[in-house]
């Protein structure tokens, strides 16, 4: 197959391109004009474009069998994230609508769910967040991005798969939202035994390529996660140990953290009415969406696509931190040279 990958130069995008090549697919990778080309073989067609501003993108879809849409912002203010994630998607899909390509795999996120309505287990049936504006810029953008994708897919009768990965992590991206907060040498863990919906970057890429290849993925929504058996405590301990950061893990029961957030919100309402502003840690809804102790199911993924993560957590840890150490060693070597 020939697959067009948007956001190919990003953290997940690079893994996806590698995986597609390994599995014998042809790749056209969309990379921003000023970004350096990742170390891909010459067989990868690089299409230089910034989806926010590129005038003519239709040619990117020429001869393509499927589109993997990964492009999105993971940082920046609300305006930047909305432009980079949502407006760019609108422009990208407008171009796709002018092509003959009908197969689209869109990478969304678990943040689109209403975590407060996930009773004990989050799966694909969990209701979606219907008040995105109470959440952060990333959530607003990802929810609107999905809305745009659904709308285009319906309008043009595309064969759509929505993939909603959990916390994607890997070399250089080990810090994840569910870890809690680090204050100097203290790691504040909210609900130390809370399960993490981890998704190692190479596993996630493997799953997305499986979705491209497997017709059973058509018209489906999947939550992508390796499993949910790793708890916050273990992840943070491994993180600190392997990063060489000696710190003190301070567990705070989830209910205590949420209670403090509720107290802060109540005080803010009393003092300032509905206009009051608090950091995300002290905003109950946003606290819940980061730390709620629930389990996360990937049963649908396993059942429908017969997928299981190729790498175990221990292997992922080894790979992730090994790569970092290798990178550091290369840097030192270069500096010495």
């Amino acid at each position: 197959m020939k697959v067009l990958v948007s956001g190919a130069g990003g953290f997940l995008g690079r893994s996806v391109v590698d995986c597609l090549l390994k599995r014998g697919h042809a790749v056209r990778a969309i990379v921003r004009p000023s970004s350096s080309k990742p170390p891909w073989p010459d067989t990868v067609e690089v299409f230089r474009a910034d989806l926010r501003v590129q005038e003519d993108m239709v040619s990117a879809f020429d001869g393509v069998d499927a589109v993997l849409h990964l492009a999105a912002a993971t940082s920046g203010n609300e305006d930047i994230q909305f432009a980079t994630t949502v407006v760019a998607t609108e422009r990208f899909l407008e171009a796709m609508a002018k092509s003959t390509v009908k197969r689209l795999i869109h990478v969304s996120s678990l943040v689109v769910y209403d975590w407060s309505k996930a009773d004990s287990c989050m799966d694909e049936k969990t209701p979606l967040e219907n008040n995105p504006y109470a959440m952060g810029p990333y959530t607003i953008a990802k929810i609107w991005q999905e809305r745009v994708v659904f709308r285009f897919a319906k309008m043009h009768s595309w064969d759509l798969t929505i993939a909603r990965p959990g916390f994607i992590w890997g070399a250089g991206h080990e810090q994840i939202a569910g870890m809690g907060r680090q204050f100097g040498r203290i790691y504040l863990l909210f609900g130390p035994f809370t399960r993490l919906p981890l998704c190692y970057v190479d596993n996630c890429a493997d799953c997305l390529v499986t979705a491209v290849e497997n017709p059973a993925a058509s018209g489906e929504i999947f939550n992508i996660l390796d499993g949910d058996d790793i708890r916050v405590w273990r992840y943070v301990r491994e993180y600190g140990r392997r990063k060489g950061q000696r710190g003190f893990l301070l567990p705070v029961p989830y209910r205590v953290g949420l209670g403090l957030a509720q107290l802060a919100a109540l005080t803010s309402r009393r003092l300032f009415g509905s206009k009051g502003k608090l950091p995300s840690l002290l905003t109950p809804r946003r606290f819940v969406s980061q730390f709620k102790p629930i389990c996360f199911s990937n049963q649908k993924l396993k059942r429908t696509l017969k997928w299981k993560p190729p790498l175990s957590f221990d292997e992922c840890l080894k790979l992730s931190f090994q790569r970092q150490n290798d990178t550091r060693a290369i840097r030192v070597h270069r500096d010495d040279a």
Binding site: R32, P33, S34, S35, D50, R52, V53, S75, G76, N77, E78, D79, I80, F82, A83, V86, V87, E90, Y133, I140, W144, R147, V148, S268, L271, F272, K275, G276, K277, L278
Partner: protein
């Protein structure tokens, strides 16, 4: 109560500031928003509970006759949109800078006069609480004669993550004279005019401190001679921390404000007495002003008060004048003087 109606064209970051202010006004209803991105228009309408959203301002103007049109698009599109609105006989409240070229402003001004409608540029800092306080000190005579005003804006526009230097999606400000600094010149220009009066002479210099950036310049300095006082103005894209410092020097008093941190204001008066003792008293007074101002500023942030201090007053005054059929809050001639000053400041910006 019959409410005044408004519409907003352009749903980016500044539009949210307008809409947050408008949501607080009892006498105004925003009936539609417009953006070339369907998603952005719909998201804005959903968030602020606005009935209609459009992707073409011409479609909006064909359907509705609002009392005021807010234009909050990037500067290059202000002129054609404002021209369409004025031609339709609608009042216009436009974000700064109103036009990229002074000649375009001049034609909008003529059109507004011909149609007998309002044409306003957002000059919100005229109504900033700290500026209003300084004006009050001048009016009451406490400051004495104004001799000099210093307006120094520092904003970290040069960091790798900054949208201003994004090579992939060039910032809209690059279309302006002086590059992205041109986007800030109107704020500097109308504050200068407020304190110095009629502009007599202008000297500027532009510097490219970071040579590898896409900006034509990242530093700007200017010296302006006005009818009543002189002004030193600057913009720095590299100096840290961020700040919008306004310092007014009078014959009896010196006042300093950071417009990014209202309501903190530092006032230094000429005091008679033993100099060493007066220095101590000055220090104590200044510490108190800084402490109280900082606490009040922090509480404002917790209370969700917009960082665009002055915008609420500017917008509410605009609607009030429409309601009472009064002349626009900032006369068109003053907006003209400011646009002309911006033109002069920016004239050497691309050389």
């Amino acid at each position: 109560m019959v409410k005044l109606t408004g519409v907003l064209i352009g749903c980016g970051a500044i539009a949210r500031e307008h809409l947050s202010v408008l949501a607080e006004l009892d006498n105004v209803e925003i009936v539609a928003v417009c953006d070339i991105s369907t998603a952005r228009a719909e998201a804005t309408a959903e968030r602020f509970k606005i009935a209609r959203s459009y992707t073409s301002h011409r479609d909006l103007l064909a359907d509705l006759r609002p009392d005021l049109v807010h234009i909050t698009t990037p500067p290059a599109s202000h002129f054609p949109i404002a021209r369409d609105c004025l031609t339709a006989g609608l009042n216009v409240f436009c974000e700064k800078p109103m036009t990229v070229r002074y000649s375009d402003f001049a034609s909008l001004k003529q059109l507004a006069r011909d149609k007998g409608v309002m044409l306003l540029e957002n000059q919100q800092n005229r109504y900033h609480s700290s500026i209003q306080h300084i004006e009050q000190l001048i009016r009451s005579g406490q400051l004495g004669d104004v001799l000099e005003v210093q307006i120094c804006l520092s904003l970290n526009i040069m960091s790798a993550q900054s949208a201003y230097v994004d090579r992939n999606a060039p910032h809209f400000g690059l279309a302006l004279s002086g590059g992205v600094i041109g986007d800030f010149l109107p704020h500097i220009a109308y504050l200068v005019y407020m304190f110095t009066g009629k502009i007599i002479d202008v000297h500027t210099t532009w510097i490219k401190h970071k040579t590898d950036s896409p900006l034509p310049a990242d530093e700007f300095r200017g010296l302006i001679k006005g009818e009543r006082a002189t002004a030193y103005v600057s913009f720095s894209g590299n100096a840290q921390p961020d700040g919008f410092l306004v310092r007014v020097v009078g014959t009896r008093m010196r006042v300093e404000a950071n417009l990014y941190e209202p309501p903190r204001l530092i006032i230094k008066r000429a005091r008679a007495g033993e100099p060493a003792l007066m220095t101590l008293i000055d220090g104590i007074v200044e510490s108190r002003q800084v402490l109280l101002g900082s606490v009040a500023g922090f509480m404002r942030k917790l209370g969700g008060t917009s960082s665009y201090d002055g915008l609420t007053e500017m917008i509410s005054r605009t609607y009030r004048t429409i309601e009472l059929h009064e002349p626009q809050p900032i006369p068109l001639n003053e907006i003209d003087v400011v646009a002309h000053l911006v033109d002069r400041l920016a004239a050497t910006g691309n050389s």
